[in-house]
Amino acid sequence: MKQVDQATYDRTTSVVKVLLMAAISFVITAGAAVTSRRLTKRRIQS
């Protein structure tokens, strides 16, 4: 374990939380984008 002071620990936790939110947002957006593009292509083909 690497020992750090409370302020560094809190700051790192906040940065990890921001990155987690960005990752969740990425999964949702990528899912919506892939679905939308597939539906558009299917509509064009049919």
């Binding site: 374990m1 690497k2 020992q3 750090v4 002071d5 409370q6 560094t8 620990y9 700051r11 790192t12 936790t13 906040s14 940065v15 990890v16 939380k17 921001v18 990155l19 987690l20 939110m21 960005a22 947002s25 990425f26 949702i28 957006t29 990528a30 919506a32 984008a33 939308s36 593009r37 539906l39 558009t40 292509k41 064009i44």
Partner: protein, 351 residues
């Protein structure tokens, strides 16, 4: 003898939504802690506690070596004798409602202008359904909701309510029309009303906070444009991400708007720095205090600078898929900008 009356369904639903949003926030906190502790292997080292100063004037800034004069200025006293954070609007319902409404209105606006049906559907759903549910369950007295529509000439809440109602009506019909291939003067009228309402919704949150006389940190004239620019940028990026072959112009627009929102974020901080003392406390909260990571990393770097670069890479053809990353990071930026600004709102002492 007193009898307990069962809570009304809307009150129970309000409590349920508030609890769910708080629990989600706690869950994210715990997940982040697990990553820091178990993946990054960080551990807090115990430091000896410095003796507290004997007495300190609660409203006067203190300047110590290596410390800002604004450190420790905010108190949690219920008597409001010191600088204290806002507890009315700085709640998860508010920043989730503002973020959903901003992303939705931005996406609908850009999608309606570019004729993207999936974008209109997602934009309408985010604004009318997600924002609508959060707004509905945030009402103190639902039976008096009609009164918010009065005095649109004086109140931004009234203007926002009219814009929201117009958006739900005209935007819903326009989305249905777009899905069924409707065209003609009626469709043009519906699209015009819905896009105008979405423009009002984009700036509404900022102007609504501007009207809060007690919080100097929200009274900056830059705030409505900061909120509108990052929401419209995200809307443009999301609209492009949903298209099979997005036009380069749309992605350049998103890149420009993301860059503008980074600049407006800096302008907002600069405006606060030259404002009243409670505005300077808010600026300190956003740059060095409790909201520094959310505002500077979440809304600034992750939510504006990186998406601007990603959208520019996609627009130039170097990495077309980067527009999906720009949209996702922009959405996170919209969330963090609302959350940080709301949580950094500080009231000056009453006395």
């Amino acid at each position: 003898m007193t009898t307990l009356t069962p809570a009304k369904p809307i009150v129970r639903a309000q409590a349920l939504i508030a609890a769910m949003l708080h629990r989600t926030d706690e869950l994210l906190d715990r997940a982040a802690e697990v990553i820091v502790r178990d993946v990054l292997k960080l551990e807090v080292v115990e430091t000896p506690v410095a003796p507290a100063p004997a007495a300190r004037a609660s409203t006067e800034p203190t300047a110590h070596a290596g410390k800002s004069e604004y450190d420790d200025l905010i108190t949690d006293y219920a008597l409001q004798i010191g600088y204290h954070r806002d507890s009315n609007w700085a709640v998860p319902q508010m920043w989730c409602e503002m973020a959903a409404g901003g992303i939705g209105a931005g996406t609908f606006l850009v999608s309606a202008l570019t004729g993207s049906v999936p974008g209109m559907v997602i934009g309408f759903a985010l604004t009318a359904v997600v924002k609508g549910i959060l707004l509905l369950f945030d009402l103190g007295r639902p039976e008096r909701v009609w009164r918010v529509f009065s005095k649109p000439g004086e109140s931004w809440i009234a203007r926002g309510s009219w814009a929201f109602a117009a958006f739900c009506g005209a935007g819903g019909l326009a989305t249905l029309g777009a899905l069924t291939g409707m065209a003609g003067p009626l469709m043009t009228l519906l699209l015009t009303v819905a896009t105008l309402a979405s423009v009002v919704l984009l700036v509404y949150d900022g102007f609504f906070l501007n009207a809060s006389a007690g919080v100097a940190g929200w009274r900056s004239s830059v705030l409505p444009f900061l909120f509108a620019s990052n929401a419209t940028a995200t809307g443009a990026a999301l609209t492009a991400a949903l298209m099979a072959n997005p036009p380069a112009g749309l992605m350049w627009t998103a890149a420009g708007l993301f860059a503008a929102s980074a600049g407006l974020g800096y302008g907002y901080l600069s405006d606060l720095r030259h404002g009243l003392k409670s505005a300077r406390v808010t600026e300190h909260e956003l740059t060095k205090g409790a909201q520094a990571i959310d505002f500077q990393v979440g809304a600034g770097i992750v939510g504006a600078v990186v998406p601007a670069v990603a959208a520019a890479l996609a627009a130039s053809g170097a990495m077309p898929i980067a527009i999906v990353k720009a949209a996702a990071l922009g959405a996170a930026g919209v969330y963090f900008s609302r959350k940080a600004v709301l949580k950094a709102g500080v009231h000056a002492p009453v006395l």
